[in-house]
């Protein structure tokens, strides 16, 4: 049974046990505009919470993506290399960035759930 969390940096984590699928929220994708390039982390890499590990670029600018939790990168969504626009089309679906195993699930504490994130992004 998976659960979705959101960070204040507008990343989402779909967590199932100790594995997480990470991308940017629908709200963030809308704010960013047309995505033209995604730089993904190498699989097998061990990362600490807060490390900058990926980059998403719109026509106008480049934004860093930070590791929302510590752990090991297990998959990178290579389909985004040829079709970065998937990030706009299905940000919380086929437009995921990478998957990782979480080394310390307590780092999820304090992250927002869907309702709290909706409130956080309400204009």
């Amino acid at each position: 049974m998976s659960k979705i969390y959101f960070t204040e940096d507008h990343e989402y984590l779909i967590v199932d046990g100790d594995t997480a699928t990470i991308g940017i929220s629908t709200y963030a994708a809308g704010q960013l505009g047309d995505v033209v390039f995604v730089e993904l982390p190498d699989t097998g890499k061990t990362v600490k919470k807060g490390d900058d590990i990926a980059v998403v670029e719109s026509v106008k600018s480049a934004s860093e993506i930070y590791a929302p939790v510590s752990g090991k990168i297990t998959h990178a969504n290579e389909a985004l290399e040829d079709e970065p626009e998937t990030v706009n089309g299905e940000p919380q679906g086929a437009g995921w960035f990478f998957k990782m195993t979480i080394s310390d699930v307590s780092e999820l504490e304090g992250m927002m759930d869907e309702a709290a994130y909706a409130e956080f992004t309400r204009e």
């Binding site: 026509v59 106008k60 480049a62």
Partner: protein, 375 residues
């Protein structure tokens, strides 16, 4: 002024109404994009007609007793041949420091109407218009004055279908060629129209009194070929067209020769001199410079932004000054300065993007063919 201390152009409310996402730019609240998004806006302009509010740019008249006197006064500040301008003709020029550095680029137009004999209209960029107008005013000789138009809007309409939009509204303007201008009326609205722009496409720039700007914009937008376009697409359009962004692709530390803008210094001025920095610039024209502005094409998909270092065999040979994604080119595009011996299309270079080496090559500019109407 709005709550954030930003100035608003006469079209700001309309831009918001059309869904423009307003951002601070050169002290103004300007639309960076509309609901279509930058990619679609960019492509729409290349295929149809985009409308841009460029009222933040600085418009002014330089007024003297007769054309030659006014033209000579401006020629003391810029390397253009203004004396030879025919009535209604426009040219691109550069405001130079005494060392020959580029403070700004601008358009200079000779008034058409005999009533305005001795008037030249200038349009400078928004970013430093106050400083640059002050600089011009301070350097004009007695008897010639700068008259800044503070209640004037400027609307650009750009793209291959623009002429179809303009023909029914103003057939005279639609008959002009690139860099020609005229005083006319569009739907009863008095305005000054030039066939020019900064997207690489055919198009017009229309100067109009602030109080009529909205009427004119509404009239143009009535045609379904016309859509509002934001600063985001304006930037990607000019970059694909190989055109410089003032303060980025050149600044006071770069001369026109380094900036590959030799064409903005006509032969007569190379011989006569008499413009700021003429001595170093004429020498550079003959002897070359250490670095030159070139087009740079990253060979992968990663855009290389302003400030990206350019290496060759591990050695620093230059920097990117403008870079991003070219929607029509369908890949990353950039411009920057490299060692002059490398300024040959096809030369392989390395770009250092976030610490990683990305292959690139020197590219011929523009990235997308310019489509000016020359008759």
């Amino acid at each position: 002024m709005d709550n954030n201390g930003l100035k608003r152009t006469p079209l700001a409310a309309l831009m918001e109404e059309l869904g423009g996402k307003m951002v601070p730019f050169a002290g103004y609240a300007m639309p960076v994009q509309f609901p279509d998004g930058i990619l679609k806006e960019h492509k729409w302009t290349r295929e149809n007609c985009g409308l841009f509010d460029v009222s933040h740019m600085g418009q002014a008249f330089v007024i003297g007793p007769d054309h030659e006197t006014t033209a000579r006064a401006l020629e003391a500040l810029m390397p253009g041949d203004f004396v030879s301008l025919k009535p209604g003709q426009q040219c691109y020029s550069l405001l130079l420091t005494d060392e020959g550095g580029i403070m700004d680029d601008l358009m200079v137009t000779r008034a058409v109407d005999a009533r305005f004999e001795g008037w030249l209209m200038i349009v400078v960029n928004a970013a430093f218009k106050k400083e640059n107008f002050a600089q011009i005013a301070a350097r004009l000789p007695d008897g010639i004055r700068l008259d800044i138009m503070s209640r004037q809007a400027l609307i650009a309409v750009q793209g291959p279908k623009t002429v179809d939009v303009m023909t029914p509204l103003c057939p005279d303007a639609a008959a002009m060629v690139f860099m020609q201008t005229m005083h006319t009326s569009i739907g009863g609205i008095d305005c000054h129209v030039s066939r020019s722009g900064y997207t690489g496409e055919d198009g017009f720039e229309i100067s109009v009194k602030a109080e009529r700007a909205n009427d004119l914009a509404h009239l143009l937008l009535k045609n379904k070929l016309v859509r509002p376009i934001g600063l985001g697409a304006r930037d990607s359009l000019r970059l694909e067209a190989g055109l410089c962004l003032s303060g980025h692709d050149f600044n006071e530390n770069r001369t026109p020769v380094e900036a590959s803008l030799n064409w903005a210094i006509p032969k007569t001025r190379r011989q006569s001199g008499g413009f700021p920095g003429a001595e170093p610039i004429v020498r550079q024209l003959a002897e070359g410079t250490a670095q030159k502005r070139v087009g740079i094409k990253p060979l992968g998909r990663a855009p290389a932004r302003e400030g990206t270092h350019i290496h060759l065999s591990g050695e620093h040979v230059g920097e990117i000054t403008s870079g991003g994604f070219g929607p029509t080119f369908n890949g990353p595009v950039a411009m920057g300065y490299v060692r002059s011996d490398l300024a040959i299309p096809g030369t392989a270079l390395d770009l250092i993007v976030r610490g990683k080496v990305h292959p690139a090559e020197v590219a011929k500019l523009p990235f997308v063919q310019q489509n000016y109407y020359r008759g």
